[in-house]
């Protein structure tokens, strides 16, 4: 198991989590009683791509896998910087 201890499974603490605003988009589901729809864990899938897209928008470097750690960002930016340096420097 990759993360078999809480000390290595780094999830946000109360000091890390940003303010979360919840908005409801209510479109009744015709197959559900009174239009009800299960929401379960589906919204779980949205944030990661949104964050990776935001990073791309911010720094122009794209990533397409998670977990995305500062070390990964750093490694890719170093490669990007090396590619920019003129030869002989």
């Amino acid at each position: 198991m990759a993360n078999n201890q809480m000390t290595n499974y780094i999830m946000p603490t109360a000091e890390d989590v940003p303010p979360i605003h919840v908005f409801w988009e209510e479109l009744p589901f015709k197959h559900g009683g009174f239009g009800a729809k299960g929401i379960g864990e589906l919204p779980h899938d949205g944030p990661a791509p949104a964050i990776l897209n935001a990073i791309h928008d911010a720094i122009g470097v794209s990533f397409n896998s998670i977990p995305l750690l500062p070390e990964d960002l750093f490694a890719k930016l170093c490669v990007a910087r090396k590619a920019e340096e003129p030869a002989g420097v």
């Binding site: 780094i10 000091e15 070390e71």
Partner: protein, 292 residues
């Protein structure tokens, strides 16, 4: 939970002399346990090899913080909550106060002890960089008496230290002479709270005629144990923190540091961030020199 409580003997003699007698009567036989924030984690994971433990919790002779004109003396049994609650620590040793707030969570700080943090000897130990740049001394005690050594000589290898099997860490002595020093401490962890260090850098220095004087720089997680960066200090001593000096100091740190890849980070990141922290400290010095 993989620990079996019935397989471990735990006793609490309740006084310092009684514990020291026990340790000297059978050196290496009994493992001291203070707040348990390390050993109980090992216990629950089924990794606690010590079958005989002696409790240091509640021994008042070890849990004190006293001030003399020249020194602050912190008993090895003092918790990090004790440090945070002590006005003298915040006033004279702000970097140590900051470190104490980094130890786990509040619920860990009420139990984790200074002695335990140092004797456990993790390269990432939170209190170590501050203690190193404050020229701390460690006082050890046994039935044979007390002895002191500079903290920078305490760690001798990965999770190895200068203590003998019959000794306890009695106190940490801090010289009260840093009021005029520029001081810096920053930890880069995995998140904002309850974060084990990826790298941390501490530094203290005087500025005399615009030049660095009596520089101390120390890091966590850039060596097998928390350590001073002596070669980096040598590059900075007597110099003004100009652009050229900052670059030279960065290179010295990058050469001196020996971090590893582990589950928390990698060597490349640690070294690079360590150099960035050093640069941040030196740029801060520049700004302060200019405003005087």
């Amino acid at each position: 939970m993989r620990g079996n409580a019935a397989q471990h003997e735990l006793i609490a003699p309740g006084s310092l002399p009684a514990v020291l007698d026990l340790l000297s009567s059978a050196p290496g036989e009994w493992t001291p346990i203070a707040g348990g924030t390390e050993l109980m984690v090992a216990f629950a994971a089924g990794r606690l090899t010590a079958s005989r433990l002696v409790s240091l919790w509640g021994i008042e002779e070890l849990r004190f913080i006293t001030t003399t004109p020249g020194e602050l003396v912190i008993g090895g049994g003092s918790t990090f909550s004790d440090l945070r609650a002590c006005a003298a620590v915040a006033a004279d040793f702000p970097l140590l106060d900051k470190s104490a707030s980094w130890i786990g969570s509040i619920a860990n700080q009420t139990r984790a002890t200074v002695g335990g943090n140092l004797v456990n000897g993790s390269p990432a130990a939170d209190s170590s960089p501050a203690l190193l740049v404050y020229d701390a001394e460690i006082e050890l005690i046994s039935t044979r008496g007390k002895r002191r050594l500079p903290y920078r000589e305490f760690h001798t290898g990965y999770k190895q230290n200068a203590m003998t099997a019959d000794e306890l860490l009695y106190a940490v002595h801090l010289p009260r002479r840093f009021a005029q020093h520029h001081q810096y401490l920053r930890k880069v962890g995995t998140r904002r709270a309850m974060a084990i260090s990826k790298v941390a850098l501490g530094a203290t220095t005087l500025i005399k005629n615009g030049a660095i004087n009596e520089i101390r720089a120390a890091a966590a997680s850039l060596a097998p144990f928390p350590a001073r960066l002596f070669k980096t200090e040598a590059v900075l001593a007597g110099k003004s923190p100009s652009t050229g000096v900052i670059q030279a100091a960065r290179q010295a740190l990058l050469a001196e540091a020996q971090p590893i890849d582990d589950i928390r980070s990698n060597a490349h990141y640690r070294k690079s961030v360590g150099a960035n922290l050093l640069e941040e400290f030196l740029l801060g010095l520049n700004r302060e020199i200019e405003t005087r």
